[in-house]
Subunit: 290 residues, 2 copies
């Protein structure tokens, strides 16, 4: 099965479980809207790539569930981040945000239910290896909640003094680190050596996101552009300028490739990271760089 298809299939299983009777129909629609059609699936792709590098050849069900769980948490965070009290964004992934389409109550509930679905997806898949599944659940909680996960990361935006390092590590880094750690862990490997790869890719993704937010327009972006400036959020473009940010992105990605631990699929994974890196750089960035 192609990687893309594998991720969509695992997400469909989780969504089918969450939207079956007697779920209220509009909540079911909001859940499908939040997850299907439009995500780049960067984090689950990374998770599967690491699992493959660690020897996943027969498409382990636990690996698929791990990738899906990470993406479900990411979808939940997008739904809640778009709420009026945060970014108040009407557009996401080139279509209406969940609260714009279904109202705030269902957006809050859809985000909550997706967090639950992520943990459920892993717990339901524990039969073959309950100890490993439990470790994966602990990893997922670490990356999602407080004090180290994306909830804590977003929480820094309510502080008058921001710990910038903790902010970025938690808000964007945590789920990328989870993707590499959990990809390895799901294959029975020690997750520690995989942490740097996730952290570096997360850092690169944050810089690329800052560049896209600053350089692309709303239509190209599929979500409201220029939001870092509007919300006065700390970002690489304000800090380093466009050229400085692009240079930083290159340095980080080289560090990411170098950090890949020796493993069966090392060369393939290096190629995947380099390929993903090219997709990260905003299309319009060439006109700003000499």
């Amino acid at each position: 099965m192609a990687t893309h298809e594998r991720i969509e299939t695992a997400l469909a299983v989780a969504l089918k479980r969450a939207t079956k009777k007697p779920s209220p129909p509009k909540l079911s629609q909001a859940l499908r809207h939040a997850v299907l059609d439009g995500g780049a699936r960067v984090r689950p792709q990374l998770c599967l790539a690491v699992a493959h590098a660690c020897g996943d050849r027969d498409e382990s069900e636990l690996v698929s569930a791990t990738a899906a769980a990470i993406e479900l948490i990411h979808c939940a965070s997008l739904v809640h981040d778009d709420l009026p009290c945060f970014d108040n964004a009407d557009l996401r992934r080139g279509k209406s945000s969940v609260h714009a389409a279904y109202g705030e109550p269902l957006a809050v509930l859809a985000g909550d239910a997706l967090i639950v679905a992520a943990f459920e997806t892993l717990a339901m898949c524990s039969a073959g290896n309950p100890i490993r599944a439990n470790s994966l659940l602990v990893d997922l909680a670490f990356a999602t909640g407080a004090p180290n996960g994306i909830c804590a990361g977003q929480g820094w935006e309510s502080e008058s003094e921001i710990d910038l390092s903790a902010y970025h590590r938690a808000k964007t880094g945590a789920l990328f680190v989870a993707a590499t750690r959990m990809g390895a862990r799901a294959m029975g490997e020690n997750p520690e050596p995989w942490e740097t790869l996730g952290a570096k890719i997360g850092e690169a993704f944050q810089v690329a996101d800052d560049l896209r937010d600053a350089l692309l327009d709303t239509e190209e972006l599929g979500k409201p552009a220029g939001q870092d400036a509007v919300h006065d959020r700390p970002n690489a473009v304000a800090h380093l300028g466009v050229q400085g940010a692009v240079k930083k992105l290159d340095t980080i990605l080289e560090g990411a490739v170098e950090s890949i631990p020796p493993c069966e699929g090392e060369a393939t994974l290096q190629a995947i990271v380099r390929h993903q890196a090219e997709r990260l750089v905003p299309v319009g960035v060439a006109r700003y760089v000499a």
Copy 2:
């Protein structure tokens, strides 16, 4: 250790983990505000009572974690239910609601982080019995998310046509059923025979809550009174009148006591349920009943 102390200790462990460095300070405060000082802890008490009836004499750590996880989910649901887009309640448990004290963004995040903390609490406690811990995690997800959990229950309030039975079963019943099922499961017992007890107590609690909402004032209640009428929510008092609702409460509770499966601590548990039942009935209700 007294039951009350056991619950508070287990909650304190979870909170300490979620609020340690590098958590943003205000989010940590919001998390403590949401959980500490003021909860009646009805659901974890029920969970511990069932575990005790099933033979929990040495205060199993997994049982304590189970009770705490259920209460964390309940606290999360209160934080989100109080948001302006739902009940818009400024008062909860006799003090400010989380969004009134810390703002909407931190209330959304605190609710999210508490859901995560609940699953983390169970997953962290799996060492002694990973298979049992995984089953408990599946139970918790069932009671929390969609299609059967409290998220789905709340979701019915966004529908023009409400499936009343599914609404009550999910919105209030799910966590009570989780409390009895998971109390038994944490002790290695079959959870199925314990389901009716949880369902009946959940039903009784809903009727009692409707009575309190209709009969008590905001100060007595510790949260805004008369909300069912304001939000035109289906409720037992509107449907049956005060006397009818009180009679229904009695019938349900008698059914609850009768449903208790034969077990070591059957008599004690019957006494606990009867005692809790007396606490359920609003103080002012006597003046409405002949």
